[in-house]
Structure formats: structure tokens, C-alpha cells
Amino acid sequence: MNLSEHDISLQTLFDKNRAFIEKGAASGVNLARVKAAEAFALQGIPSNKVEAYKYTNLQPWFKAGFEQAYGLNGYSADDLKTFECNVHELEAHTIFTVNGKFVEGSNGDALPDGVVAGSFSELSKKHPEIIEKYYGRLAKVEADGFIALNTMFAMDGVFIYVPKNKVVEKPIQIVNVLTGPSDLMVNQRNLIVVEENAQARVLFCDHTLSMSRFLVNTVTEGYVAESGMLDFYNLQNQHNGTVQVGGYYFDQEGKSQLNANYFTLHTGITRNNIFSRLGGEHAENHISGLYVIDKNQHVDNFLFIDHAVPDCESNELFKGVMDDASTGVFTGRILVAPDAQRTNAYQSNNNLLLTDSAKMNSRPQLEIYADDVKCSHGATVGQLDENAMFYLRARGISKEEANILLMYAFAYEVIEKIKVPSLKEQIRQLVEKRFRGELDKCDSCVVCGQLGTNLIKSN
């Protein structure tokens, strides 16, 4: 194919800065850049002519005009001290990244023996065997131009490794902060490995702290080995000038469990690429999402569930509440391999459109090559139930309050899936505030907590 002007500008940018990008990076990570650059040359950034990106054209945004966030851009750990509010902190191991870069010393909290959580840049050098085994295994550069772009530019992010039989009880919370005076492009790279019979809960909170325009292209790979368990949460609360492509690539082995939950409370343009491969028998996953958007916000959740082997189960539940002229997209692709018998795959996407100008495109795509399977899919787009509305008002509840109660009731099914009770309560409150139009930046740290005392000490 012909690359666009923008694609070429990104290639040039990479070539010019390659030495800088590669300096101090792990050899496995640098090796991957070679293939990534080749793959990018073949694909470029997907335009809306690519079927998977039909309703979200990201090509105009991704160009070299944006300054690359290679470092903290003058931001220091001290500045994070302003990221404080008088709210309850979630009991968690907290790690900060700023513009895609791990904040030195922010992982001071003691983790269980053998568990590592910290800078991708540092830990990828320390654990070449893990990089060799997992890096880029599932997020294939030839599959998507965004993966290729990320793999070319990736310098830092978060690296989490949970060895065999280890259980990390407190959630590991990653607060991803975008900030600074200038517009930025961020290519953050994260790797999560949960080994055999190990368990972890990982929460990503995505925030913006300054009004600059941010272009984010994150790739997160998550590997869950046999009988392992990963609870993954993504909470997104970013300003309207944010364009974020979040790629989440999960690979599951036998009897493993994955729960992944995506909450988009505020954004500009969001595209989530959520890929899950069920690669061992009796693996199970539950992937859910809630998007609450208004004005001109746009959210596109693209899911691909790959049932590669028999006897696995997948569940998808995505719900959206859309106000004003906001637009949403849901694509739920389920692939059942020829011998993946006794597969259970369920998918549901329900949307509440509050205005005539809000718009939703929902596409279930089931590709089934096995004959003994249970698959279901359902998509709905509707308005608030008028009978329920009258019932509430007939008890003395105002129209506005009844609206909020019903929107919240609609969203609750997704919130209910959160397995950490304190996190569930905090997200519940956030969503309610969102419906009341009271959500501000300060509230977002209800979930994300404050800067740990460890960091302040380490400075």
C-alpha cells in the first residue's frame, strides 16, 4: 500500500531519533524495532478504509508534528505532589507514569517476594529472558500499524512480573498522567506476566493534568499462565483534547482466568483494541466496559476473542450512555477455531442514547468453525424506559433525579463486575458523579489515590 504523508513523517522521525530511542534500551526491545519498522512501512496508520477502523479515522491525528514524549519533559516526581486531594486512598501498590515514562521511585511499596513492578525500560534489561519469551508475542507488529508504531518508539512504561504461585493481594495501581505545556505523542509500552497459579490485580488510571493535546498509543501485553488469574481495570478520565489508542493483548493458558474492565468516563477520542486469546483448555475470561460520553466525545471498543482450543469460555458485556452529539462504536469479533469444541462465547452490547444526535454503531462478528459451541450475541440501542420514569416520578422523584437513577441502573451491571469491593464502591461513586455532571479532576483520584509516602521519602 501507499503510505500517507503522515506515515512517512513518522518514519522520518523514527530514523532521526533512532539512536536516542535505542540508547539504554534492552536488546530484545531494540531487536523488535527492526521488524516493527518494516511492518509499519507496509501498513502505516490504518485509515477508515481498513474495515476494523471503519468508524474511527485516526490517520489525520498521527503525524510527526506532535512532539514525542521521550522523557518526563521537565516534569519531576516533586510535581506529582500537587496531585493530591482530600479523598480516601485505595489500599494499593501505586506506581506513577508521566507521559508514558515511569516515575523513578514511585514503586517504593514492598511487594511480595519475587514480584516485580516498575519501569519497563529498567526491568526489561534486568529480565532479558522474560522479554525474549513474551515481548511482542501477542501484540504482533504486522497485525496493526499502531502496534508497529508503538514497538518502534517504545521506551518505557510499566513492567509487572508475578512468579509462579505468588498472589499479590493489594491491587497494583498504575496512574498514567499526561501533562506538560506542549502537545505530545506518547507511545507507552506495558508488559504484565502472571505465571502459573499466580494472581494479580492491576488497575490503570489514565489522566490528563494539563490542557495540551495528547496523542496516546499504548500497547499492553498481558500473559496469564496455567491456573493464573489476572484482574485488569482501566479507568479513563481524560480531557477532550486527548486521542488515545489503547491496545490490550491478553494471552491465556489452561484453566486461567482473566477479568478485564474498561471504564471510559471522559475522553476526546478513544479506541480500545482488546484482544484475548484463549490458548489453553478451560481458560475463562470476562471482559466488560462502560462508556459514559457527551459533547463530541468518541469511543470505539474493538474486541477480538480468539477461541483457539476446546472447552473455554468468554463473556463480553459493554454498555454505553451517550449524550449530546457523542458517538460510539462496538465491534465484538469472536473466532472459534475448527477444533475448539464445547466453546461458550457470549457477547452483549447495550446502549442508551439520550439525544437524537448521539450515534452508535454496534457490530457483532462471529466466526465459528467448530460445531459443538454455545455462542450468543446481542446489541441494543435505546432510550430510557418511559414506564420506569413515570413510576419513579409518581413516587415524588423529580424528572432529573429519575433520569440519573435510571442511567445509573443501566450502568450498574458493568460496575457490578468489579471484584475489589473498595474499588467497586469508588467507581460506583465516580459514575454517579459523572451522571450528575459533577466529576472533576480531583474526583478522579478517589480511585487513583495520592502519591505514596514512599516516593516523598525517596526524594
Binding site: 420506569a388 409518581a394 413516587r395 415524588g396 422523584i397 423529580s398 424528572k399 433525579e401 441502573a409
Partner: protein, 250 residues
């Protein structure tokens, strides 16, 4: 308490109420009976402000205020309550949250202090006993998965919580077994005071064995065609509605 004068209402261009006149005083229980399609439920809907119906003529005064001019929520806050014939299931809204929101909004409207969490829970417990409702039901979403009888009991529970001045029970007896009917009737009787009133809309006389009305009205073709004491209900039970139709023709 309630003064209805020459009330006409329509839905989808069809006139259902054709000139209702009715006076209800504090302390009274009125039964409105009538064959199917006579306009009984429409009357309940129009009084509570269901926007599907259009009032084309007439006035309704509720404690000296123009009822028809108010939103559904303000009518409730003024003390009007409807026990729905078909209570709506609302998944995701808990009974507790629903009742607390409703009660507090009503109290705010009337300039009263809202209840503390513990006072509210105490009131819930107290009112649950009154209608013998399963404790478990109030922990669930509004009416979700409730049986027909549970839904009706839940309506009376809400009535007990909100303590209205005028309650309209729209076929609350339909679909109730005799035990549930007794519980519902018992609840209504216990809530009866000299300063409140009740309208029972029913097709059958059975409920009136348990809740004794002061007045019985027969609604037919959108008009009240006969009003008398409680003995009228018995006569209807024995002879059906045909004799009334006969009388009208004559």
C-alpha cells in the same frame, strides 16, 4: 380533599373519560367499580399525571390546589399516591435507594428535615412489618423478579413509607391469593386515619369484604352512573353490571 368536576380525558384521539364528577373527603374510603374498559384505570392515570393521557375538559382540585397543573412528582409530593395495577420492574435501582430518594424528595418539597440513615432504616423495618413483606425484597432491585403478589405487597409497602393523604389503589386485588389479599387489606386498614382518604379501584367485590368502603361508585362508559353505600357492591356481585346498563337505557 379531592374535587373532580366534569373531567374529560382522551388517549390516541379516543375519549375515555366523559365527564367525571366526584368528591372525596378526608377519612373516607371510596370504591370505584365497573366493567372492563369503563375508564377506571384511566381515571387513576389521569389523576397521577400520566402524560400518555390528555385532559380535554374539566378541573381537579386536590386540597385546594389545581392538581392538573402539577407534574407527576409534585402531585406525589402533595400527598397523592397510586398503587400501580402493573408495577414496573427497574433492574439496578435498589428498593432502599428508591424509597430513600422518594421520601427525601417529598420531605424537601414540604420543607421538612430529611431522615438520617438510621431513622430511615428504622422506618423501613417498621413499615415492612405492617405489610408483612419479606426483608429480602427490600434488598433487591425495584420489583425485579418479584411475583405478582410480591409486587402488590410492595406497592402497599411504598404507600406505608410515603404516608400519602390520598391513595388510589388500582386493582391492587387482581392476581392476589386470599392470604396476600388479607395482608394488603390489613395494611390499608392500619394506615387509615381521619385525615387521609383512599380510592379503591376494583372489578370484584371481594376486596371490599376486607376494606369496607363508605361509598361505592359505578363507572361506565367514562361516567359515574351510580353512587351509593357499601351495599351497592354486594348487589353488583350478585347481579353483575347488566342491570345498570339496563337502567341506563331506560
Amino acid at each position: 380533599m379531592l374535587k373532580i368536576r366534569n373531567l374529560h380525558a382522551m388517549i390516541d384521539g379516543k375519549e375515555i373519560l366523559r365527564g367525571i364528577n366526584l368528591d372525596i373527603k378526608a377519612g373516607e374510603i371510596h370504591a370505584i367499580m365497573g366493567p372492563n374498559g369503563s375508564g377506571k384505570s384511566t381515571l387513576a392515570s389521569v389523576l397521577t399525571g400520566n402524560e400518555a393521557f390528555e385532559v380535554v375538559e374539566g378541573t381537579v382540585e386536590f386540597n385546594g390546589k389545581d392538581l392538573l397543573d402539577m407534574s407527576p412528582e409534585d402531585r406525589a409530593r402533595e400527598g397523592l399516591f397510586l398503587s400501580f395495577q402493573y408495577p414496573v420492574e427497574i433492574p439496578g435501582v435498589s428498593m432502599t435507594n428508591f424509597m430513600r430518594t422518594a421520601l427525601n424528595e417529598q420531605k424537601k418539597y414540604r420543607g421538612e428535615d430529611i431522615l438520617s440513615a438510621s431513622d430511615f432504616l428504622k422506618l423501613m423495618r417498621d413499615r415492612k412489618n405492617l405489610v408483612d413483606i419479606d426483608s429480602d425484597l427490600t434488598n433487591r432491585s425495584v420489583n425485579e423478579g418479584f411475583s405478582g403478589g410480591e409486587k402488590k405487597k410492595n406497592e402497599i409497602f411504598q404507600m406505608a413509607m410515603l404516608d400519602p393523604k390520598l391513595a388510589i389503589l388500582d386493582e391492587t386485588d387482581s392476581g392476589l391469593d386470599i392470604d396476600a389479599l388479607r395482608i394488603v387489606a390489613n395494611g390499608v386498614n392500619k394506615l387509615r386515619r381521619p385525615d387521609n382518604a383512599t380510592i379503591l379501584i376494583t372489578h370484584y367485590q371481594r376486596l371490599l369484604d376486607y376494606i369496607i368502603p363508605d361509598h361505592v361508585h359505578v363507572l361506565f362508559n367514562g361516567r359515574i352512573v351510580k353512587s351509593a353505600g357499601k351495599e351497592l357492591a354486594h348487589k353488583l356481585e350478585e347481579n353483575g353490571y347488566d342491570w345498570i346498563k339496563q337502567e341506563l337505557v331506560e
